[in-house]
């Protein structure tokens, strides 16, 4: 039953009347990959997943799975399993019946269904709950039941639409780790929609970052973190978010709040830019960019300082034991490779 699970989106457009939910989206997912669709709400990531599942039809463009055009293939003929945000468990069926349903629909013989259901339930640790109805399960157990129903069929593609968003914080972290292990052990291609950059960063092998109906960047979490393509991605990825401050570029240097810093760019000339500085990439130094500590957020092992640099607010993450007092004047600097430059007009990376 299981295929390869390779996905290609070719210039997918989705119109809702006049509104373009997707403005020509192209990307590829490799077999066995854990691929995240990341973006703020309304950016088109869920629409993309629904088009991949076959629940919505694109206005234009092609969807290919394992090199076969499935754009007009029915959802139920695509061999795709999905976990919904609401879990969409069938409330009138027991856990076992819920998990068995896709196998029944595939007309598997009864003798094969029972062990498959047990096996799937064991993988997500709910094999002691098989006789319960979904209404008698906790949120976390319901989520596992939805996972079991999705993995039982060994579909070639495993879609997850914000599966962790209804869990409390602690359970979310636990399930996140288990989800990753589960996907690894099954070796199935997973496509994961989330608005939580941390989830995407920790789970995904690669991710596509959506902004207002377009993919602005595709890459590994490390790549996207290290070289964000645009101001929007720079501000979206990372916690606390990257400082994005207006600056002036002069012959390879960048002037921020009157202080000159070296960059890796060497082109001559002068222009306005937006400089991006990760809070964690800034270090305290002598004779650097000076500012007054306005506020300290102590996170235990590190602290985040709000620094007022002549009217420009810059946040700095410093290690514990190195924390200045509120109202202190300090000065900071960044290595040239840690300074990101963006065009304020196009909002793209320079």
């Amino acid at each position: 039953m299981s295929g390869q699970g390779q996905v290609s989106f070719r210039n997918i457009v989705k119109m809702h009347g006049e509104f373009a939910a997707l403005k020509g989206v192209t990307f590829d997912i490799k077999p066995g990959e854990f691929f995240a669709l990341l973006g703020p709400s309304g950016s088109g990531k869920s629409t993309t997943l629904r088009i991949l599942a076959g629940l919505d039809a694109p206005t234009d463009g092609r969807v290919l799975i394992d090199d076969k055009d499935v754009t007009s293939t029915d959802a139920r003929d695509r061999d795709i399993a999905m976990v919904f945000q609401s879990y969409a468990l069938y409330p009138h069926m027991t856990v076992a019946e819920n998990i068995a349903f896709p196998l029944e629909m595939a007309k598997l013989p009864k003798a094969e269904i029972a062990p498959a259901v047990k096996d799937a339930a064991r993988k997500v640790k709910i094999d002691h709950l098989l006789d319960r109805k979904p209404g008698q399960l906790s949120g976390g157990q319901q989520q596992r039941c939805a996972l079991a129903r999705a993995i039982v069929r060994r579909a070639r593609l495993f879609l997850l639409d914000e599966p962790l968003s209804n869990l409390d914080a602690k359970l979310r972290l636990e399930t996140r780790a288990e989800l990753k292990k589960l996907q690894r052990s099954l070796g199935v291609t997973a496509v994961y929609v989330t608005h939580d950059q941390e989830e995407a960063m920790t789970l995904a092998d690669r991710m596509a970052v959506f902004m207002s109906g377009e993919i602005q960047q595709v890459g590994t979490p490390a790549e996207v973190f290290a070289r964000p393509n645009s101001i929007d991605i720079a501000g979206f990825i990372g916690n606390p978010p990257m400082n994005l401050v207006p600056a002036r570029y002069v012959d390879g240097d960048v002037i921020i709040a009157g202080h000159r810093l070296k960059t890796t760019t060497t082109t001559a000339g002068e222009r306005d830019v937006v400089a991006g500085l990760r809070p964690g990439a800034l270090r305290m130094t002598e004779n650097g960019l000076g500012g007054r500590v306005d506020l300290i957020e102590d996170l235990g092992d590190t602290a985040v300082l709000d620094l007022d640099c002549a009217g420009t607010m810059i946040r700095v993450r410093v290690a514990d034991g190195n924390i200045p007092g509120e109202g202190d004047m300090i000065s900071i600097t960044a290595r040239p490779q840690d300074i990101h430059l963006f065009d304020p007009a196009t909002r793209m990376r320079l």
Binding site: G54, R76, I80, F84, P102, M105
Partner: protein
């Protein structure tokens, strides 16, 4: 405390007045059905009397037995209910779920038929049935009953279908179920309560119907609501027998009402909370 007590007493008083007003005809029927014709006409009315089942024996097994009429009522009510549900369930599902041209208009006409005064359409119905020779036939009466039971059933069922999240169906499609299978295996089991309520309502409406029945029935097909009036004639009214038939005719209503009470109350409110239930 006194204000609270006063409110409770006032509420109880008002409830008692309404209860008496509504219960009176039923109590009257039950009591009179157990009297002899002489006791019925006694003045002042006898509250203490020796009860007899004579009236019941007469109306059930006497010369003018209403057993055939009870059978007619059952055939008409069950027939109407079955045909209505067979058509209303898919129609309500379509109205609740699918997007199609004219859906809004269809939804409006379903309701609009409910607003027509029955007296206004009874003559045309009679003429139509007479022209196709369906006066005094089961199919004729059931067909006419469908014209009001079907819109009612659809309207009631739509709100139940709308309560089921879309994702449930989408999950079923992705699990490999066809649309029909999804309806049968996933959706219908979840609206069982709504279907039960609708069945009860449709059945009772058909069972209690009198106005159309009296015009469209005849000697072959005569439901019990019409047959009751055999006991009312120009010379005399056989009160005990009339009361006995009334009680017999009420029986299924009361039984169904008690059995389905919980569901019926929910059925009455389900449209209310959702603002009519139709978008």
């Amino acid at each position: 405390m006194t204000a609270r007590r006063f409110r409770i007493i006032a509420l109880l008083g008002i409830s008692t007045v309404f209860l008496l007003a509504w219960a009176f005809p039923i109590v009257w029927s039950v009591l009179n059905s157990l009297k002899t014709d002489t006791d019925v006409l006694a003045y002042p009315p006898k509250l203490v009397f020796s009860p007899t089942l004579e009236a019941y024996r007469d109306v059930l097994f006497g010369s003018g037995s209403i057993l055939p009429n009870l059978l007619s009522s059952i055939i008409i009510s069950v027939g109407t209910t079955i045909v209505t549900m067979l058509m209303a369930v898919p129609a309500a599902y379509a109205l609740a779920r699918l997007r199609f041209r004219g859906k809004k208009l269809a939804g409006f006409y379903v309701l609009a038929t409910q607003m027509l005064p029955p007296v206004g359409i009874i003559i045309p119905y009679f003429l139509v049935l007479r022209n196709i020779g369906w006066i005094d036939t089961y199919q004729g009466i059931i067909l006419i009953y469908l014209s009001f039971s079907l819109p009612f059933a659809i309207w009631l069922l739509v709100s139940y279908f709308e309560d089921i999240p879309f994702e449930m169906e989408e999950a079923a499609y992705l699990d490999g179920a066809s649309r029909l299978k999804t309806l049968w295996r996933i959706i219908i089991p979840q609206v069982r309560g709504g279907i039960a309520v609708t069945v009860v309502f449709v059945f009772l409406n058909a069972w209690n119907e009198f106005l159309f029945a009296v015009v469209l029935s005849g000697n072959t097909v005569r439901p019990v609501t019409v047959a009751m009036f055999n006991f009312v004639s120009v010379e005399q009214t056989l009160w005990a027998k009339l009361a006995a038939v009334s009680v017999l005719a009420m029986l299924p209503v009361v039984v169904l009402g008690v059995v389905a009470q919980k569901h019926i109350v929910k059925g009455l409110t389900v449209g209310a909370v959702k603002g009519g239930g139709r978008r």
